[in-house]
Amino acid sequence: MKKFTLANFVQKMRDPKQRKFFFAIFGGKMIGLGMCFLIMFAFSLYLASPAKSHAQTTNTTDTSTNAAGAITNATTAITNAVAAATGTNAAPAAPAPPPDPPYVSPINTMWVLVTAFLVFFMQAGFMFLEAGFARERETINVLLEGIVDTCLCGVLFYCWGFAWMFGHGNGWIGWGDGNGHSWYFLQNLPDTYEATGVATLAIFLFQFAFADTCSTITSGAMLGRTGFWGDLWYSIGVSGFLYPIFGHWAWGPDGWLNGLKPAAFHDFAGSTVVHTIGGMIALAGAIVLGPRLGRKFKRDGGGPMPYHNMTVASVGAIILWFGWYGFNPGSTLSAMDIQGIARVAVNTTLAACTGGLGALLFVYPRSKKWDCGATVNGLLAGLVAITCPCYWVSPFGAMMLGFVAGVVVILATDLLEYLRIDDPCGAWPVHGACGVWGTWSLGLFATGQFGASTTTGADNSAGAVVKGLFYGGGFDQFKAQVIGNASIGIGVFIAAMILMYAVKATGTLRISKEGEEEGLDLHEHGGVAYPDTKL
């Protein structure tokens, strides 16, 4: 082909056929560009439309338009810019009337934001942990999957995830403020979320980080043989549908599990909502995918496939522990409940400590070796288990239930090995099995001294406290925990099996045999994790 220079181009244009061809292509591109602008413009009109940005009345749950007003002003600016660019002029949306002063607590909002940043940092921990436990040939795939599922989760949670999970609606799903204004695309958000006194967008960020954690868990069981298209599809399914809907049951303002009698289901920071959901979806994925090529199980004379970088995996676990200091204490949503925050942080720490030691000591007799991988999973198991009961147990209780989690995770790993299910990171043993144990343990270890965090402090009144079996509370709380965990856990497992089979039906779930032998990194990502720069 001739070089593309102005002289060559002008010469080409002398030919009428070439001229027609050029204008056809050029015209098509301009039409395409115009359509893109049109769609952006139309969407910004929808976001700024007056009918959606005015609340009719003020009421106790505060549907004031302050936040919506700010969003309106921003989108008006975009609308005007696009209008100027496309040569038309849309009338700007009318400014919102000044709202009644809502209670916005600066320190509570700051607390939620800072802990949201900590929870987000757990993504780095997950990337390290999973990459370390994977083989070298699929490392880039693991890392990129972690990054992309974070990006997808943010967008999906913005579009409808937050509305479904934290909006008012019915016991099964939410959508808005309960007065006819939907929260899709973060429209019509009140200044503060419910009675927390925390800016709603801060709550959104905090909960996005939680959703991100849940969707990352699933990749741990599915790495090494999942095609990237399949990764994208199931990530959309998890972040966009499974997590917000099943999570609403427990954490939505009108979720049906909040209304259980005589004791309501409690899940402080998400042993059920984040970890059991994540673990069950991971299990469904591992089952539908099948094991990696060449994987022989212990009962057939084989064993787990070797990791490729224990340094990175262990540091990743500690990074996760650090991030958990945002995950659990941040769930008080209140910087004013200082005793609560301190207690939660200490309980979190002690459960991780005994979880790690429990796994280490439990595994030692098998081979007389101090197993680093088992210890890593043990401390994570303790953290997962304490996530539900952290507010309501004593430090001693935290240590006990953490230790049990350290043993449970090893037994759960053995179980998967026996069932010939290939879970490279132990996602189900750590998050699924110990999420279940942690949720149940609230019904046993809750001391009956602690109730709930409020925006101004702790509410430890008689009506609010949670008491478990070992402290004289009877079986009521334990039953509520089992009901809540089982309904969400079993429900999401069935839904996840359907999701995974649906993705499998598109042919994108598992990569080809040649691709898996070549290695995912070369096949899907065009590179290797550790290029040899010398050659």
Binding site: G294, E517, L522, H525, G526, G527, P531, D532
Partner: protein, 112 residues
């Protein structure tokens, strides 16, 4: 005694090792190497651009056999390492002058 050096695709290593131990081979040496033959290299991508990588990772499997085992070892390696696609590898055979076991000082076939 013959020294057999087989350059094979890395994921075939477990299969070949298993098959060789089954027919009676008691030791082998494995090295990670890079190379190309007529397969040439492949292209990789980084930040939107492609670049060529000439050398492809392979495994070099070295095994020393007595003459009575020689044919079956060759046959086994060829059968298990073959995929039918380009890049399956090559086998080089050299005649060996002597083999010594360091621990005991045995030489010849007894040292294998």
């Amino acid at each position: 005694m013959k020294k057999i050096e087989a350059i094979i695709k890395p994921f075939k290593l477990d299969e070949v090792k298993q098959a060789l131990t089954e027919i009676g081979v008691e030791g082998m040496t494995v090295t990670e190497v890079k190379g190309f033959g007529r397969q040439k290299g492949h292209t990789e991508t980084f930040r939107g651009s492609e670049y060529a990588v000439d050398f492809i990772p392979k495994i070099q499997l070295g095994v020393v056999v007595a003459d009575d085992l020689y044919d079956s070892v060759l046959e086994t390696i060829i059968k298990t390492a073959r995929t039918g696609k380009i890049g399956d590898g090559k086998i080089f055979v050299t005649e060996l002058k002597d083999v010594i076991r360091i621990r005991t000082g045995e030489t010849g076939v007894k040292a294998l």
